[in-house]
């Protein structure tokens, strides 16, 4: 005697279940970067709430800012600033 339950591909053949996961991509589909992986775009990257932002700041100070210096002169006044080793 047949029942009305279990007559679907997931139960009969072990395929991806219906319902919430019916549109789930294949296991290999997420190996590539897609835009939806970062829905905020570049703005999200420079948001102070983003830990990556502060990680970038520390990285920049540690390496990238080495050797950055500048000076400004207006008449007899002179101001200068430097970060890191500028010798």
């Amino acid at each position: 005697m047949r029942t009305l339950t279990g007559l679907d591909a997931s139960t009969l053949y072990g395929t991806t279940p219906l319902g919430a996961s019916a549109v789930a991509p294949a296991p290999t589909a997420h190996l590539a970067y897609a835009r939806e992986d970062n829905p905020g775009g570049w703005r999200a990257l420079v948001d102070p709430h983003n830990p990556l932002f502060w990680f970038g700041v520390v990285l920049a100070v540690t390496f990238g800012a080495a050797g950055v210096s500048g000076s400004a002169k207006a008449g007899p006044l002179k101001a200068s600033a430097s970060v890191g080793d500028t010798k």
């Binding site: 047949r2 009305l4 339950t5 279990g6 007559l7 679907d8 591909a9 997931s10 139960t11 009969l12 053949y13 072990g14 395929t15 991806t16 279940p17 219906l18 319902g19 019916a22 549109v23 294949a26 296991p27 290999t28």
Partner: protein
Amino acid sequence: MTAIAEPQTLQGVASPNVVIDPPSFFRLTRRQEFAMKSQATFAGFGATDNLILRQTGIISGLILRVSGTLTFGGTITGTSMSYRWPYNVLRAARLSANGQSNLINCNGLSLKVLEFAGNTDLNDRGVSRSVGAVTQSHGTLSKACEDWGTSGANQLGPGVTVPATGAYTFDLDYFLPIASDQTSLVGAIFAQTAATNLGLDLDWESQANLVTLGGSATLTVTAFNVAVTGVVYTIPVIGNKAVVPDLSQFHQVTQFRPPNAFTQGENEVLLPGVGAGRKLLRLGFSISTGTAPGTPLAMNAANYGPLAWRYGGNDTPEIYPTGQHLRLVNERASGSDIGRFWGVGLWDFVNEFAVRDVVELGATSDLRAVINLVNTPTTPFAEVFQETLFAAAAGS
């Protein structure tokens, strides 16, 4: 499962107001079987008929009836039928639907094998047919109501020397399994749409491959009729929503001739179409040898050594010591001795318990059939067919 989902697309076709609810669908649908296409004359041997089928409901299968008359004249001496006759007169049936081409792409014999494998109530025992010079009563894959070619007391069949001139009527029956099983309708096609076409191409074998005519014999074909009957289920509507069963999968049967030069010993045939999310339901093969179009190599211990399927480096889950072992397993599962005349060997992963046995093709890279031959055949070629399930284009 009582899952209810409301997809925006079904099998890649936009379909608003659809709800997937198999129990409700099965309660409310109506099965219909009706002629989808009929034509009194075929395109000709070696040619192709392109049929556009009716698009309605949910299509689970197509019944194909091919009938007609072969009239031999002149002096019949030296005239014989090849092993492409009768079932491979249908060299290929190719079905395309909902943007998926070649959901079915295989020859007539493969369709017969799959019909017997999928419907164990079928039985060819006691059905007398001429094979070679002998009348056989099992292993022919013939139904009693079919006709391989009859003129009075004379019969046509594979390898048969045509006994006399005359008009031989024939009547062949095929089932194209659009759904992987006719109960759950998994793999059936959502056809209630004008978005795409439902096309069936029928390739007919060349006359030279079907029959060798003696020096002064003639052959004319008349009333070669092709009739396609669809097995269709209506789509019930509840509260302005169409109710459908699980259509999340496409069912595919494809066939190919591997490029291997088959020799004595182990031959590995690499299977195409392997991918994540695909399930292998059945895998079959046969090897023909000798003068074209060849004679099937019987599935037995004299012709075949160990037969297996293999993936990865050397993972070999199933291996049968000889062709005879596989033939026994096949008869036990299908109810027919499919390896006797037609030389077919079949790995059937759905016969007992599909969810346990089907092969997940995403986890079996470099999947291949391993065919060990006892001797090197003369001008061999293989025909390999695969039955698979794979996720429909979008939604479910």
